[in-house]
Amino acid sequence: MTDVQLWLSAAEVGCFFGLLALAYLLILEGAGFFNFALGPYAMVAGLGTTWLVIEKELSLWPAVAVAVLIVVALAAVTELLVVRPIEARTGGNELSALVAVAAILFAVEQGAGYVFGRRQLPGQLLVRFDPIEIGDAFLQPSAALLLAVTVVVFVAVAAWLRLGGTGRLLRAIGDNKEAAAVLGLPVSRARLTAFVIGGLVAAAAGLLYAPKAGVGFESGLTWTLNGFLALVVGGTGTVWAPLIGGLLVGGVQVFVPYYLGSAAPNYVILGIALVFFAFRPEGLFSRRIRT
């Protein structure tokens, strides 16, 4: 475990999963819903940007803006047109919600394959500078940006949840949905905000991770699962828990193949999932004052 390059890789992968897990957490707090479509959102941000640049010959930053807007729209549509009506009809039945979110996941994936094409495309580099040398290892510009943005996003979200009006509302709803509704808090507005902010975080994650190895329309499902796992491992106790979970899952993804061979991470991840889901579904960091 002395190879610096592997640690850098683990950090990069881990930050990506951490951002996805943070997006899960936001939507879970605000709407009590695991949005499995987050992975495909991230995919749309990465793949869409490249497609706009390569196929539509848009310049980089407008392409980024359009792709992120598409993700925000998808997130809002998920909440307003699908999740909310179905929850209203079924009284919040979890099975129906899961089927609905599976349909959304699949629809976003197939829609991206249809619109952007089914080829794997490279991610767009948002910044260009020489790789940073650390010992005998290199930190690529895209990785450096991902690490930096991860820190900024986590600090910003933590501050928002503590200080911002809507942020505090979100936490209140996350603590007790029924009470929040009885108190007359604007629950629907907070839900929509949660979906949109979660979508934005996922979009940033996808956009920044895409340069690492490109992105294809089917990348979303693996991202969804790894992000979810990072959330479950980290827990929902603090805003920082998803980052810890993400880094742990990222470490597994990088170090397990080094020691145990290429196929091992999938088994180890399944094992971790089974252990955590069965024995500690609340994750490493749980909030104790929950009703």
């Binding site: 039945n93 629809a107 796992l229 999938n266 088994y267 399944l270």
Partner: protein
Amino acid sequence: MTAVTPEVGGTAGGSSAGGPAAGPPGTRGTGVRVWPPLGLAAVVAALLLVWVGSNGYRQDLGVLAATYALIALGMYVPFVMAGSLSLAYSAYAGIGAYAVGIVSRDTGWPLWVGWLAAPLVSAALAVVLGLATRRLSGFYLGAVTLLFATAFETWLVDADGITDGSRGIGGIRNLSVFGWSPDRSQQLIMATVLVLAVAFALDRLRQSPWGVLVRTMREVPAVVEATGVRVPVLNLVALGIGAGIASLGGCLFASFVRGVTPETFTVNIVFLAIFMPLIGGVGTPWGAVVGALVVVELTLNFPAFSDSGTLVLSLGVLVILLVAPRGLLGYLDALRNRLAAGPLTGLLPRSSPGSSSPAGRSSDG
């Protein structure tokens, strides 16, 4: 959480073929309505077989539809009946296909040995996975079973000695039953009969006392526990039966196509298999069969949707979830009742998709 009528369950009672919406579902299984669905399905199947004829490509489509139907029927058991959404069905279908492939490659035994072994192996695996995940439900169960499906795919590539790695097993022998090897047309007819038989059996099972018990369990487990039945055991049995049926789909596909690779049954098939009963109608196992036909037609045989078949399909499923939760058969049925019973009946609550139908509350009996 209190016993809310789940969406799928709310329609499960109300939309099955025929009968006014009253009483718990178990009481409606009278002889009169046993045969019409099977008879109707047999007629439709026969017409489809005539359409296929000896066209090799249509035979492939037919077998694919039968494969999808078996996987969807397998998933139907725990999903619609017991309310647990396991997403590992690509693995069970894969086990079926590889069982046939391995029997063909490594032994001199007839292929149907694989057909017998696969459901047992799949059921056993489903029970083990069910035990490992017995405390999970909803999203957690969905995620962990999906992770299992991905890990299984990796294993298929990785276990070179057993599965021949990413090359897969090709050149599978022809199916032969006691010296008789059916040609492709005959195999398709046998596949069709198998699907009809499984759907019919599940329909009967659904209405049997056991089926009522399982469906009650998903809505109010406490009631079932009170009768002395262990809910976890019931759940495991449902998972095992479902996995066994799905693996038959894999056996069928590998025997007919005479090859299997790790990419034959990916997690995509799991999504399609969730959608099939929704499209056809969750009220009856026949819905899964109808859904399989729709999926094959949309994704493979509909020229206008050549590239967008799966997209149209997934959007269509969203629409169905939102505005037509009873699926195609549910609506055909409602239409038929309306026509049969006159305009007044059509105004009864069960025709409105949003409200929970009285029959759905089967648990109050």
